[in-house]
């Protein structure tokens, strides 16, 4: 399961979103859905639940590191 989560994350972060949108029928998505239906347990579902949050946390982290000089401060 961690490998599946890591693969999905790499797919989403590394690929254009259009590829992920086209992904519902890819082998990875099918494997994940089958896994969830076969033997769901709390930790695996929690990992999947955290995936969208993880993506936006990473985006926020990247912004935090690369923000540019904003100038004089209060402007509105």
């Amino acid at each position: 399961m961690p490998a599946t989560v890591a693969l999905v994350l790499a797919c989403l972060l590394g690929a254009h979103p259009a590829l992920a949108l086209a992904c519902p029928d890819c082998a990875l998505a099918r494997r994940t859905r089958a896994f969830l239906r076969e033997d769901p347990n709390t930790w695996d579902h929690l990992a999947l639940l955290l995936l969208p949050f993880l993506v936006v946390w990473l985006v926020a982290f990247v912004w935090h590191k690369r923000g540019r000089t904003a100038g004089t401060g209060k402007d509105g």
């Binding site: 935090h64 000089t69 100038g71 402007d75």
Partner: protein, 166 residues
């Protein structure tokens, strides 16, 4: 740190995190609780009996817990930047970052949970794809609005910097 050296990255990061958290609360309160749609595992365990309803409620609770944690982290980033005086204080940048965070989360959550994994849909039933597409579109709309406000905030900051240096 001098005012001219303030970066907007901290403010944008805090705004994104707060937008994700507060957007998550809107999602949870409006969709999960009031309308009783969009439950976390509803495609796997449709909440049609008390047991499956309780399991869905548990995972909805985890969703809320992570949304709360994200809000707390956003507040911490904001407070740290204010205390150290390292972040700019731009309303369009902050509001834009919150809108971007909310939109980004709706889009990513829709992409992963609805389209890719099929864990749940916004409103399960006959027209679920339309509702899912609407949810993705709301993400793009909020994200676009956020991006426009961020650009406005940066343009305002740049023009003020130029004015203050002349």
């Amino acid at each position: 740190m001098g005012r001219d050296n303030r970066k907007d990255g901290g403010l944008i990061a805090a705004g994104i995190l707060l937008g994700v958290g507060l957007g998550g609360f809107v999602d949870g309160i409006v969709f999960h609780q009031i309308l009783q749609w969009h439950n976390m595992l509803s495609s796997i365990l449709p909440p049609t009996n008390l047991r499956d309803m309780k399991i869905n409620m548990f995972f909805d609770g985890l969703f809320h817990a992570v949304a709360w944690l994200t809000t707390v982290i956003g507040l911490a980033v904001l407070w740290r930047g204010i205390k150290k005086d390292t972040i700019s204080r731009s309303t369009p940048t902050f509001v834009g970052a919150m809108s971007l965070g909310w939109g980004l989360f709706n889009f990513v959550e829709g992409l992963i949970d609805h389209q890719l994994f099929g864990l749940h849909h916004v409103r399960p039933g006959a027209h679920e794809l339309l509702w899912d597409i609407g949810f993705l579109a709301s993400g793009l709309l909020l994200g676009g609005l956020g991006g426009a406000l961020l650009r406005k905030g940066r343009a305002l900051s740049t023009s003020r910097t130029q004015r203050s240096s002349t």
